[in-house]
């Protein structure tokens, strides 16, 4: 017997379907179904996954695209027999979705009336209106309508069957058999019940009345189906399945054509643009090898038919350029010479000739990848440009599928099982997902969950099941899909939670599977900072800088000298603690070293244990060798040690014999392996392939470990290459124009790793003067001035927390030539009391108020702010003392988050409260491995995934930042200080490696009580 399942909802029918599209496909194939329709409710979000699995594993199963929809008392499954029907369905879903808020849909009768191609399987609801609907369907959609018969073995099923048969006879509509599948197998019923409960926002016990009473909505064997349904109904089902021919592979993406001037082909136009670009980029003529590369690249673009893609990105970046928005492209295709000529990137090909796989790979069969980063504060302008140019019908963001993660799973499953909220909060707060030695299940048991109890066992089982389940669609950070015709012919579009944003129902993997291209428009804070620095440099020195200018000047040894000292606070990418500790060991000397540096401090290389071999080989302590010539070609540029994602994939091809298609699947599995665990299926193949080709088993194992590590944070060379340019440019600016650089960083906050306070401390250490914020001198932004021949940053009014920009601007615009002279003169501008208070708190009224207490006391007197009394001299009426240094410090931090006055460590030391300790600037005099006591404010606490069991503390004292390493054992034994301390004393051992000094913590002593209300924000990275 043949059977095709025509009604099946996956977990993309959120909180209803209890199996993934992949599970459903596998099960349908296992049960020998001839076809499977994936018909999620008003959604096509799951179909591509089903399609991809069938295609990749070459299953003999026909996929039918469809969707189930409800309108009043009418419930129908729409199926797509052909491409026209598919476009129709996309349109109907888009319309219904666009009418409602995010997550909901609203169908209208017209939508159903307008169907011309879709098949309609009607699911009568047993209502009075059924007879009318039957007549309506027969009238408007004859020959394309069926009654869908379900068998759920429910109590009232007999009546329902009779009802349907009566309708069929009366309306002359044939009956077909449907499984109405929600689960791929019966044991998913618990999860299905839990999902129902989550949807109802109740516990399972509370919503018993809404639960399925049995497991009949799972996929059933063909034998069982043959028993349950009449053969004539099954016949109809198979007929319908046979009539469906649409395959998602038929979808062809049409690029917007308006980018090409009339009379030219896209390729002609691209060649023209590249030719113009070469003249700009290579003023002294194009070197012959580069000319050759350009020719090769263009041929490849033509062959693979990608010119539109490059033109689309070119158009976007040209808009950004015209608006003075700084940008930088990255990704495999971005590092091509073509992109350099099109000004998509500033990676100078002469400098990066070493770059190996720099372009779209023909054999790897992957689509070109170009992400463009824009200044984070101005990316919205670019997005608006795209919407304006292509219209909302033709441009939309890709979706990101938000899935159940550990925390959300615990919360929702726990609630459904009736576990109290405070207990769940307790679990969530106390499970450390980074702890590799103890999995979360064991940790929850340690926290008091009884694993042998019924609830306990169910809790753990259901969390495991639900993790990775999609919860809702969200918008991708910046992946745009732009098409020639209306997008909703291609894919349904729905509303995002941001107003005026629309997303398509597919995520980036889905797009990739169907070879649809997206353009990534991303935001990057460092670009804002760099652009602002360029502007300031021009304003104060007349020197005009650009990223391309810096890269074209080739490597500056002084810049690398600074980088090698790990003097990189504020510099792009290489400013994190882990990066900084690696810099003096790796000692970058040229651009490509930076590319390696950025990629090496990542989970991939570290988990694969690639870092130490690389350092040894680089320092000449270990000979560079290659297991084979083929491997040499892949690994030569990194001294035989695989560091980049591309190298690992290439290795899978040359050393383990993966085909291009397999390598592409491997790459994708890496990206999503945490979610799906798909990667393990490649392990055997990889190890076997490599052993067969004569590679050591150990080498193969290491490569696989590294693949797993990449899975978390895949870092390809193509991205590292672009990031290295920004790292170099920001280092260069920090070295030559520190005042402008720090001021721009401060103006671009929030971004990067460091707070304003930390940046200012660092600026001071680089001999930059910092001038306090003041109503008579500050602008809104932070500015740069020369004071006695030295560069100084004048803090801007924006540093005052809660002060509105409009008020700050008012104060600056209306400022008299000789400045404001009293509180009244500021308040007369119409500055409200709250703002005046904020100014007082930041001590910005210092020019005419003794201190902030006095300023506030004045402000609070209502008579002062009444117009009649403005000329009265304000007299000090109560005897209030001035704030102490410590109070000033506290107030500075509360009002601005920074302080230019004495450091808390200085103050506490002056009071004699700290005992004997060593300051940061004296640490270098201490011998390696000697005992030391340090004290500092905890400004950073980081337990990176790259270093298991280690927490890096940053302690700030009045001379600088001290790096403290705390091992897990130490932390566990001294939990109290480890978790809670704001001011920490550490007794430990000095470790020196080159110029880098660490303190390995032995004892942690919480000194926070000394700080009282000191408001220092420690940044936690989890």
């Amino acid at each position: 017997m043949r059977y095709a399942e025509l009604f099946c909802q996956s977990n993309f029918s959120f909180l209803e379907g209890a199996s993934s599209p992949e599970e459903l496909v596998k099960q349908a194939h296992f049960l020998g179904y001839s076809a499977l329709a994936v018909t999620d409710e008003c959604s096509l979000a799951g179909v591509v996954r089903a399609h991809t699995l069938i295609k990749n594993t070459e299953l003999d199963l026909k996929l039918i695209v469809g969707s189930v929809l409800c309108f009043e008392s009418l419930k129908v499954v729409l199926l797509c027999p052909n491409k026209a029907a598919y476009s129709e369905l996309c349109r109907v879903i888009s319309n219904a979705r666009r009418r409602a808020n995010k997550g909901a849909y609203q169908l209208e009768k017209w939508d159903l009336l307008s169907l011309k191609h879709c098949f309609i399987l009607w699911l009568p609801q047993g209502e009075h209106e059924d007879a009318q609907w039957g007549a309506w369907l027969k009238r408007y959609h004859p020959n394309r309508s069926w009654i869908g018969m379900q068998r759920e073995l429910s109590n009232l099923e007999r009546q329902h069957i009779k009802h349907c048969e009566m309708l069929s006879e009366r309306c002359d509509i044939p009956i077909c058999a449907l499984g109405a599948v929600l689960m791929h197998c019966a044991n998913r019923i618990r999860l299905q019940h839990v999902l129902t409960a989550i949807k109802a926002n109740q516990s399972v016990e509370e919503c018993k009345g809404q639960l399925l009473v049995n497991c009949e909505r799972s996929m059933r064997t063909k034998d069982k189906i043959a028993k349950l349904f009449k053969s004539s109904w099954l016949q109809e089902t198979n007929t319908i399945a046979n009539l469906c021919h649409f395959n998602l592979d038929e979808l062809r993406y049409q690029y917007p054509s308006e980018l090409v001037p009339q009379g030219k082909t896209a390729m002609q136009y691209l060649r023209e643009l590249v030719a113009q670009g070469t003249q700009r980029r290579f003023v002294d003529g194009v070197p012959s090898d580069i000319a050759k590369t350009i020719k090769k690249e263009l041929e490849l673009i033509e062959e693979l038919d990608y010119p539109y893609f490059f033109l689309t990105i070119y158009d976007i970046v040209m808009y950004a350029k015209s608006q003075g928005i700084l940008y930088q492209g990255r990704g495999s295709a971005a590092n091509s010479v073509v992109c350099y000529c099109l000004e998509i990137t500033a990676v100078d090909p002469r400098q990066v000739a070493v770059l190996f796989e720099r372009f779209i790979s023909r054999e790897r069969n992957e689509p070109p990848d170009i992400d463009v980063d824009f200044e984070h504060q101005r990316r919205e302008e670019v997005i608006q440009y795209i919407y304006q140019k292509y219209g909302r019908k033709r441009a939309a963001l890709a979706a990101t599928v938000i899935t159940y993660r550990f925390k959300s799973a615990v919360r929702d499953v726990g609630k459904a099982l009736g576990i109290s909220e405070s207990q769940l909060t307790y679990f969530i707060k106390n499970v450390n997902r980074r702890d590799r030695s103890l999995n979360w299940q064991a940790q929850i048991i340690e926290l008091g969950l009884e694993p042998s109890s019924l609830k306990g066992a169910q809790f753990i089982e259901l969390i495991t099941d639900i993790m990775g389940f999609p919860r809702h669609l969200s918008q991708h950070v910046g992946g745009f899909v732009i098409s020639a015709g209306p997008l909703h012919d291609l894919v349904p579009v729905e509303n995002a939670s941001m107003p005026e944003r629309t997303v398509i129902q597919w995520d980036k993997d889905d797009l990739e599977s169907l070879a649809l291209l997206k353009v990534d428009v991303l935001a990057l804070g460092m670009l804002s900072a760099i652009r602002k620095t360029f502007e300031m440099v021009y304003q104060h020195t007349g020197r005009s800088l650009s990223i391309a200018y810096l890269t074209q000047r080739q490597d500056d040894p002084k810049v690398y000298e600074m980088i090698q000292k790990a003097d990189t606070v504020g510099v792009f990418q290489i400013e994190s603690r882990a990066q900084m500790s690696m810099l003096p060991r790796l000692k970058p000397r040229c651009y490509y070293d930076l590319v390696v540096q950025i990629a090496i401090v990542r989970p991939g290389p570290i988990q694969g244990d690639m870092v130490h071999p690389f350092l040894k080989r680089r320092n000449g302590e270990e000979a560079v060798s290659y297991p084979s010539e083929a491997v040499k070609a892949v690994l030569e540029r990194t001294l035989g040690v695989p560091i980049f994602q591309e190298q690992v994939i290439k290795l899978a091809m040359v050393a383990a014999g993966f085909t291009g298609g397999e390598a592409d699947q491997l790459r994708r599995a890496m990206a999503s392996w945490k979610k799906t665990g798909e990667l393990m299926q490649f392990k055997d193949k990889l190890l076997k392939g490599m052993t067969e080709r004569g590679y050591e088993h150990q080498f193969a194992e290491r490569i696989f470990e590294q693949i797993c590590g990449f899975g978390e944070y895949g870092f390809p060379e193509s991205h590292s290459a672009s990031f290295a340019v920004l790292a170099y440019a920001s280092s260069w600016l920090k070295l030559y124009y520190p005042a402008m650089f720090y001021a721009s960083l401060l103006n671009s906050l929030p971004m990067g790793f460091y707070s304003a306070s930390q940046l200012l401390q660092d600026a001071k250490r680089h001999d930059v003067f910092i001038l306090p914020v003041c109503v008579n001198h500050s602008s809104y932004e932070h500015t740069v001035h020369q004071v006695e021949g030295q560069w100084a940053i004048r803090l801007g009014l924006k540093i005052i927390k809660g002060l509105r920009q409009s008020i700050a601007n008012l104060i600056v615009e209306k400022r008299p030539n000789n400045g404001y002279s009293s509180v009244q003169s500021v308040s007369k501008l119409g500055v409200d009391k709250g703002a005046l208070e904020r100014l007082a708190s930041a001590n910005a009224l210092r020019d005419f108020s003794q201190d902030r207490y006095a300023a506030r006391w004045q402000l609070m007197n209502q008579e002062v702010t009444l117009p009649l009394f403005t000329d009265l001299p304000s007299k000090q009426t109560a005897d209030i003392q001035s704030p102490s240094d410590f109070e000033t410090l506290l107030e500075d931090h509360t009002a601005m988050g920074i302080s230019l006055n004495k450091h808390p460590i200085t103050l506490l030391d002056e009071r004699g409260e700290l005992g004997v300790f060593t300051r940061m600037n004296e640490l270098c005099k201490k011998a390696h491995k000697s005992m030391v006591t340090v004290v500092g404010v905890v400004t950073g606490k980081q337990s990176p995934g790259t270093a298991a069991g280690v927490t890096f503390f940053t302690l700030e004292d009045d001379t600088g930042n001290i790096n403290v390493v705390v091992w897990a054992g130490t932390a566990r034994a001294q939990k109290k200080a480890y978790l809670g301390a704001k001011l920490l004393e550490v007794k430990g051992i000095v470790e020196k490696e080159g110029n880098v000094i660490h303190v390995i913590a032995g004892r942690l002593i919480d000194k926070s009580p000394l700080l009282q209300g000191f408001d220092t924000q420690s940044r936690h990275f989890h």
Binding site: H193, T425, S841, A878, L979, G980
Partner: protein, 470 residues
Amino acid sequence: MLWLYLHFPQLQLDGLLAQSAPLPPTIIVSDKQHVVVQLNDAARQLGVKIGMGLGAAAAMSTSLSVYEFKVDHEQQRVEELAQWLYLDTADIHISAPCGLLLKVSNMLSLYPNLTHYLETIQARLLPQNVQYHYGLGHSPLAAQLLAQAGYDKIDEDKASLFAAVGKLPIDALTLNTRQKQQLLRVGIKSVQALLDIPLVELGRRFDTELVQYVGRLQGKLHHPVEFYQPTETFQRDLILLFELENLTYLTKPLYTLLLQLEAFLKLRDKLTLEIVLTLVQRDAESLCLKVGSAQGEYRAKKWQELCQLMLERTQLSAPLQAITLRVDEFCESHNQNEDLFSEPIGTMTHAGLLSLLRAKLGEQAVYGVTVLPDARPEYATSRCEPSVQALHSSFTENKASLLRPNFLLAQIQPLHDKVTLLQGPERISTGWWDGHNIERDYFIAQDEQLRRLWVFRDRQQRWFVHGIFS
């Protein structure tokens, strides 16, 4: 005027301590913010502090016992304490949620001196097992601040008391956070600094609430407080002239008490739902009988009837010496006369019947039935508190009525007879959440006597009868 303030910082914890000692590390956490509000020494030693978040506290130790803070509980306890103290002192103000303010001045004429007065109060609190701090003051607020700061000193000297208040930080004031912030932000950090500023100056800068507060603290402005009134309950004791061994002779004396109750209730136009009758027996435990009337009642005659039914079922274990009639709760008398035409048929209302049945058969013997939305037949109905309204609604509410037998067997029984299956299967396979999962196919079957049976087959293919259709 002198005031005494008693501050109870950990009433809920005190309650736990009274139940069992020693207590494991225990914290009490506020319900909204999940912040530690009370904790015992064992928890304190682990490093937990007041104001710490639950997560942070839990990270200190996994063996913490956590309780949710119950403000109602504390308030109730404070009222109880007030009730006790009322025996010793007249003017008590309940200062929510956990303090008592006692007016000392007038009481001093009844006690030899302040020390004696205070000792009496302390002696009264001793058996209550509560932690407290006290403070004296010449204004209610001053006394309160000192008590909350744990002053605990006998001192009635005005100057030295105000000096002690002056030394407190601004944070000790019972102002809201915003007001305290305002003061701190102009450099006023101690209460003394605040008191030093003339009220006029404060008036120009702060709201009247704060000015009034300072005035009251100084005792310059009147601070009205509401004094505690003991709650009204009805209680009458009756010592019997003769010891009774037969309860039928109790009718008359009981009736006199019930008449007093009737008078008491009539005067207040109230009804009561329950009376408590305590029978004091010689050399034996007293018997406590609760007699209820579901619709509320005040008439002695009706209560007499209900009591009679109860007494008929009661056995004395020793001769009866005295009885107490106590009523704690009253309810409003609502007009029971419905309109002329909708008067219930018969003389007995549902509620009346219910009271009668309960009195006759005992509380537990009478219950209602409610329908639950559980798919498992055994769990589809449940016993519930009988209520007059529920009788009508619960059966009609049941939505699309499933085909179910009217008569469900109390115990399923193996099917032995030969039957013909008429309809089915209806598959029920659910109930995993409470461990009583079932997997059954139900059928309607007809046996040889033409009875329609509700039968099912379980997973092991065994057949059972579960019900009979009418």
